[in-house]
């Protein structure tokens, strides 16, 4: 069994009693990924958790499959896989939550503090991702990236060990993987070198002016360019995302899967989010950083799962993996019938070897 099979097996064991399954919504299996480790990488996208009390303000809109605790069950099933791999000296399971974990924008009012979130609110998810290690409970010891919804009046949830950006660990110290939340208001601005500062602001150019801000005025600028709370309610009137793909194959351990299920992007394509990443990672300034050999960028923020690849002949390849979300709805066609389904977004991305995948989790089918 491959590492992918181990993970799929663990998840399908959780899903079977729920009449659930995994569907492949994007994939690239190709040596151009450039992974020189045997570690497996799991990416948990935007969750936007809010408390049960606050959830009542948003009706059905919110973290998907909350009642069943589906995500916590899926992640919990990987703790044993992770431990087995570590104990046998096989490999690591590296888990990254891509930011927007708790939605403090929606959770807290202007005079509330982060201490107002009950300890048991989404406790199973908090435990299995990062908190269990400090409580004697099973835990994936995930890296949690800071998203734009993870802070409230400049304060973060104190228990969360946020990281601003992350690379994979490489035996040659030439990481192939870079992860970031991917929002234009990111704290990355404060600490990233110029080559990344520029693209962080740039790639969201449809939403904000493409500018760089001095550190002294950043907090003020952030407040002025962010949207008002009322706009957040506007945003949830159209929470349906069409995933850009031809047909989602059902995934089982060992099943044959299409090697390429993604969108190809030209190096000179300037109309998409991808191009700003590509420009950053091909700029001369990237040398002298751990980004010099990066070939895969994994991000969240948009809530639209998919992969984009630029692989110009003789040029540097770059794969952008947008891991999607566990909020809002998605629509996509099934491979066997072509029928289009609409269901709660529930995506997870996995990379092992030179095989990157995004799955949609379905239940009740």
């Amino acid at each position: 069994m491959t590492a992918h099979d181990d993970i799929v097996h663990a998840w399908t064991s959780v899903l079977a009693p729920l009449h659930g399954e995994l569907r492949l919504v994007a994939r690239l299996a190709d040596p151009l990924i450039g992974n020189d480790t045997d570690d497996a990488f799991l990416f948990v996208p935007d969750l936007h958790l809010v408390s049960a009390a606050r959830q009542q303000s948003f009706g059905n809109y919110g973290f998907n499959h909350r009642a069943s605790g589906l995500l916590a069950q899926l992640l919990g099933s990987l703790v044993r896989v992770r431990n087995d791999w570590v104990n046998s000296g096989t490999r690591k399971l590296v888990t990254v939550q891509l930011g927007d974990f708790f939605d403090l924008w929606r959770e807290l009012g202007p005079f509330q503090s982060t201490s107002g979130i009950p300890d048991d609110e989404h406790g199973a998810l908090r435990d299995v991702l990062y908190r269990g290690v400090h409580r004697g409970r099973p835990c994936l010891k995930a890296t949690l990236l800071l998203g734009n919804h993870d802070s409230h009046s400049g304060t973060l949830l104190p228990e969360v060990p946020f990281q601003l950006k992350a690379f994979n660990r490489s035996p040659s110290n030439q990481p192939f993987l870079f992860t970031t939340h991917g929002d234009c208001f990111d704290l990355l601005e404060l600490q990233m070198p110029d080559w990344l500062q520029e693209f962080v602001v740039h790639f969201a150019g449809r939403l904000t002016p493409s500018n760089k801000y001095s550190l002294d005025s950043w907090g003020r600028s952030t407040a002025s360019i962010n949207k008002p709370v009322s706009a957040l309610h506007d945003a949830i009137t159209t929470p349906l995302h069409a995933l850009d793909q031809l047909g989602a194959v059902r995934v089982t351990p060992g099943a044959a899967l299409p090697a390429r299920l993604l969108r190809d992007v030209a190096a000179n394509d300037t109309t998409r989010r991808f191009s700003d990443y590509y420009r950053a990672f091909t700029s001369p300034a990237i040398q002298g950083t751990d980004g010099a050999h990066v070939r895969v960028v994994v991000a969240g923020h948009t809530h639209i799962a998919g992969m984009m690849l630029c692989a110009p002949p003789g040029g540097r390849p770059l794969l952008l993996v947008d891991a999607g979300a566990w909020i809002e709805q998605c629509t996509y066609p099934l491979a066997e019938t072509g029928a289009t389904v609409t269901e709660p977004s529930a995506q997870l991305a996995v990379i092992h070897g030179n095989d990157a995948r995004i799955y949609q989790v379905r239940v009740g089918v």
């Binding site: 990254v96 835990c139 890296t143 990281q163 992350a166 994979n168 992860t179 706009a231 506007d234």
Partner: protein
């Protein structure tokens, strides 16, 4: 009595700056995380016995000894690993917690900071490399005991921190008096702490302690009795929460904020 209090505080004072608290083991950096530990004991079967320092003691050399693993989970209040500690007599509390965790209190990274490979340990990295890795993870990560499964930009961090780490690597710098040390590091424009609060040891155990801020971390330097100069280093994160940055939406929309079908994620 009040005057004595002022004198005691002055012993751990570097000036009129901020207070620095040496935080929980999982937050502070006080040892090379890649180096395994073993325990030297002489009167019973021991996990390790020094091969060079005490050649008259029988047993396997340190390099062959069983290595102890103290991960972040060992510091949890519920932890019973690697040692299950119980009261010799009487019951434990009703909450089911063990009475204690038997875990190391690290004295700090040795100064001068070493970039030398660790002999006999292929998986170990030098003290300087491990410290650079910790700094690269950023101040919000509880990476003092376990190196995270992912890393920050270590190459950029090594270049950025080089002036500070180079000074800490020099014996002629770490052996300076406090006044000379402050003058030397101040040339890098660092900020000095007012007081250091360290719950690991009583004040009487420490001859002198000093802390300066570099980037988002406090570098705390210790001088212990009968040691020349500052011989140990602990690094403490300032914490992301201290950065005055708000991502919260403003109350007023800006003219350039046009409605979009995707809204504000």
């Amino acid at each position: 009595m009040r005057a004595w209090g002022v004198v005691c505080l002055a012993l751990v004072s570097c000036g009129g700056g901020a207070d620095v608290h040496v935080q929980a083991p999982v937050a502070r950096y006080d040892h090379n995380r890649s180096r395994p530990l073993c325990v030297v004991m002489s009167d019973e079967p021991a996990p390790c016995v020094p091969a060079v320092a005490a050649p008259d003691v029988s047993g396997p050399p340190v390099a062959q000894a069983p290595k102890l693993r103290f991960g972040a989970e060992s510091y949890a209040p519920q932890s019973r690993a690697p040692y299950d500690v119980q009261y010799a007599q009487g019951a434990a509390g009703e909450d089911g917690l063990p009475p204690a965790q038997l875990v190391p209190i690290y004295t700090g990274v040795a100064l001068p900071l070493s970039a030398a490979p660790i002999p006999g340990c292929a998986l170990c990295v030098s003290d300087r490399s491990d410290l650079t890795d910790y700094l690269a993870s950023g101040p919000g990560v509880l990476a003092g005991v376990d190196a995270p499964d992912t890393q920050g930009d270590t190459t950029s961090t090594a270049a950025k921190a080089r002036p500070v780490l180079d000074l800490l690597s020099r014996n002629d710098v770490t052996s300076l008096s406090r006044k000379q040390l402050v003058e030397t590091f101040s040339r890098l424009g660092v900020e000095w702490a007012g007081h250091v609060f360290d719950s690991r040891y009583p004040a009487a155990a420490i001859v002198d302690v000093c802390a300066f801020r570099w980037d988002a971390f406090w570098f705390v330097l210790y001088r212990f009795p009968e040691k020349k100069g500052f011989s140990r280093l602990v690094v403490v994160p300032t914490g992301l929460a201290q950065d005055p940055v708000s991502k919260r939406p403003s109350s007023q929309p800006m003219p350039q904020e046009l409605p979009t079908p995707r809204g504000n994620r």
